[in-house]
Amino acid sequence: MIEATGLTKRYGATCAVDDLSFTVLPGQVTGFLGPNGAGKSTTMRLILGLDAPTAGAVTVGGRPYASYRRPLFQAGALLEAKAFHGGRSARNHLLCLAASNGISPARVDKVLDLVGLRGAARRRAGGFSLGMSQRLGIAAALLGDPPVLLLDEPVNGLDPEGVLWIRTLLKSLAAEGRTILLSSHLMSEMALTADRLIIIGRGRLITQATMEDFLAAGSGSHVRVRSPQAAALAVLLAATGAIVAGHDGDTLTVTGTTAEVIGEAARASGLTLTELSARQATLEERYMELTQDCADYQALAEAGK
């Protein structure tokens, strides 16, 4: 578990993280979202004790991370993909980190296997592709088999197979009861992987919620209708200009209209509705909706739409 209370970090006049309080729970993948410059990476550095907060505090497993004597057993982190000496082999890089925490070379070989770098273990890491570097970073994070994992943009540079691999890995690690904080700009990927979300903008907390609650709270992008007379309803709705995007038994998926219009049309035609619900937008839509005003680099946010 990670708990931040009133976490604040100022660099000169810039407030990178501003009175941020959140909890990252075990057993779930928590997505950490925010526009560029929102303070995600700074927050991760604060969690790991790499930067000292201007105010507030953050604990990992109930204690400040830096107070642990062998912290790789408490939390593993991937902050930057290329944060290694390019002249060292992947295996030596991991052996260096492992040794400092009394982790055996056998475990190093095991994590190399786990991330699929066995064949490249003795190659100079400087020649690695971004995807391989990410795998090496993930291997380093897993060295101590820690209950907490912090991953900053881990899917960046991975091929589709790698993206699927990390999604499966993170989900299974979370299912084991681990705490996983994952930042990514890939909304579709986040929607598939994360159970909970923490969204920040300009260093401030915008929201923290379960993925379900977060998406449900958004404005609807389509309407789900159930009716014993679904076929008749479909014809009726199509005549009003709505688009019936899906028809499965007694359930219709309708876009291009609102729940109110459908309800009124059904009432006017004497059709029975057993369910009428506006469905949430995608994570990307919800995210854009929320962070529009917070993006430090609006052009980038616009380009991402």
Binding site: R70, E80, F84, H85, G86, L97
Partner: protein
Amino acid sequence: MTAMLFTAPAAPASAGVIPLFADVLRSEARKLRTVRSTWWALLAAVGCNIVTAALLGVFLPGRLSAHEAATADSVRISLGGLHLSQVAIGLLGVLAITSEYGTGMIRATLAAVPQRRLMLAAKALVLAAATLATGIAASFAAYAVFQAFLPAGDAMRTTLATPGVLRAVLGAGLYLAALALLGFGLGAVFRSSAGAVAVLLGALFVPTILVMLLPQSWQDTVGPYLPMNAADTVFSLRHEAHTLQPWAGLGVFCLYAAAALAAGFILIGRRDA
């Protein structure tokens, strides 16, 4: 919520400071020996010393007058390669820490060992051991090679039993280790290879030149305490009236290294990584 199937593995039972330091030492020793630049620097130091000594041993004797040969500081001459090897060793000291900042590795290192000063101490110790061993080996090798190339009966011939010779040869090795630590301290302060190397080389060479602009009496007062001049005394056989005594000279040089290290130790605890 998912059932808590996972429980964190217990960290190794030995979580005291001393076993921790031993682990960090192992980690830092591996770091130092698993990058090529370390071996290049050490090889360059030994190579420069030996090659220079050999060249001097072969070519110098025929060019010196009998008087020159009799008054020359033969040990200092045999250690002429220090001019080059000190650069290699100083660079190694700087890179031992700045390469971590340059690559971003420092954040992985400090995430693994949040006890920053303990980490820095382990790094310094490993560097000191490597450079001391190499420095002493390089100095003795240079001395032996120079002596071996001298013609029989040359006035510059000495043995390790000759007063001052053992101290000077050993002192040169100690100087190289202290120099590496000076570079390391500067590296920890400046966190950039280019910056730290510039300051290191500047500190070694510039004051010795600048002081010559001062009046003679000032030169005699300040000069002996300049880093290079102070260090010079420990690997020289002959001393002038205004230079420091050999061990005092090395001591002064070590104070410079200690000051840089102290600044590095203070700053690493206070700054964001």
